[in-house]
Amino acid sequence: MANISLQHLDKIYDNKVQAVFDFNLEVKDGEFIVLVGPSGCGKSTTLRMIAGLEDISAGTLLLDGKDITSAPAKDRDMAMVFQNYALYGHMTVYENMAFSLTLRKEDPNVIHKKVLAAAEILDLTDQLNKKPKQLSGGQRQRVAMGRAIVRNPKVFLFDEPLSNLDAKLRGATRREILLLHKRMNATMLYVTHDQTEALTLADRIVCMSMGHVQQVGTPLELYDTPANLFVASFIGLPPMNFFNVRVEEKQLVSTYFKQPLTEDESKLLQPYQGKEIVLGVRPEDIVTGGEVDVQVFSNENLGMNTLVHGRLCGANTQDAQITCKLRGWCDYKAGDCVNVAFVKKHFFDKETTNAIR
């Protein structure tokens, strides 16, 4: 069992800079939580506070109901995997994996069994006699994970473990982490700035910005119903398109287009009649054949889809730029005009930036 409860956690450094503001989260046993956000948003600091590598300035941290706010890192029964692997270069893979248990003075035979079991899980059995420098980046990261596995901790903490790997290896290692979680059913907290990792790995995602939690939810919730403009812009690749529009009767009016509203949308936007809001449309929710005219800048064929970058016809400002992810292979040229329609719309309050629901 490993339930973690983070209650009103704050992190204020000695120079009075506050990195984390009122962080609240309940992590259930066996859950895979991903903390995602841009660089400097406080996600790694939060993870380090959980690991005991940073002092908690305010708030309470509970592990299975036990207060571990001030407990030293070694007594927290958590294992952390770092971005830079933190392996001992002079030790073999076997020795690296066995090291923490050797320090605990565990029976060498038991250590051996644990190391072999972890190596089997991570497909490292043939690499046990090698030194880290003889391994690829992915293998090194697997050794770092193996070192965490042999400890059989209550909680696994990953601090951007895939950031040093190339794209192909990152995908493979990501799948391995997912398999590892399914196999061990352990509680895992994972920090990344890569939304693909967050969406593919997480049971729940914690999206952070400037030290504040913006939204906590399943990957689908964050993608489908973003809580505010930040989450909407951060989750999704290519990012969501935003347009300033005015709500008028049963339609949205922009300088460059008009969009009719459905019955439900009209009801939802009733309080905003005559006011300006932000309309968000994901590139993949745009299809050809509609009332919005787009002047094409460039065309990126991805095989299954085509990314069309352009701007709304008649506009010459930055806010009228648009990216469409159209189905199939399209051969538009710069200057072409394409008619598109918005299949799904997201509405945001212009002042609070919160989603209108």
């Binding site: 073999t92 076997y94 020795e95 060498p108 035979n109 038991v110 069994k113 190391v115 072999l116 046990l128």
Partner: protein, 173 residues
């Protein structure tokens, strides 16, 4: 984790050798080098330098350097269960015992003349006195014992590991 039976423990110990170094033999070899250094430093506490300042002293110094070098090499070799280095350590151990009968024993049995400032006459004394002789013998014996023990353990373990690896290869085939 389930408790491990004795039989399983033996199997695990054997399997562990595939991934762990033979640090026991290696450390014993370091100890042998240390005792050899003690021997070599303490031998010149006696009058041996002035008594027998000849090619024998030179050979003794050179052999000592060679011993330390070869022993260090062997200590690294036995770490990774190389049988040849085990035999090399056995040879070095025997060599340390043989050394007792060369310089120390010769120095112990030989007499040298020295002027006594109290008696104001020349007296004859042993080049290496009993206590000194006993000390160097102890150091050489300890060094030899360490080399021999390290060699024996290394040979036994490396043979066991070679047999185990062979059996694994057979199974794989």
């Amino acid at each position: 984790m389930m408790p491990i039976s004795m039989e399983e423990q033996k199997a695990i110990q054997l399997d562990r050798m595939r991934y762990t170094k033979n640090t026991f033999s290696s450390r014993l070899t370091y100890l042998a080098i240390l005792f050899d250094v003690f021997y070599f430093v303490s031998i010149f506490e006696s009058d041996v330098g002035t008594w027998y300042y000849s090619w024998l002293i030179g050979i003794s110094i050179v052999y000592n350097l060679v011993f330390m070098l070869v022993a260090f090499l062997a200590s690294e070799g036995v770490k990774s269960y190389k049988t040849g280095y085990g035999y090399m350590l056995l040879g070095l151990g025997v060599g340390q015992i043989v050394r007792i009968f060369i310089l120390p024993l010769m120095a112990h049995t030989a007499m040298t003349k020295r002027s006594d400032p109290v008696l104001k006459k020349v007296v004859e004394i042993p080049v290496m006195e009993d206590a000194q002789f006993a000390l160097v013998i102890v150091f050489l014996c300890l060094s030899a014992a360490c080399c021999l023990a390290a060699g024996v353990v290394a040979v036994i373990r490396s043979r066991k590991l070679a047999a185990y690896n062979a059996s694994l290869s057979e199974k794989a085939v």
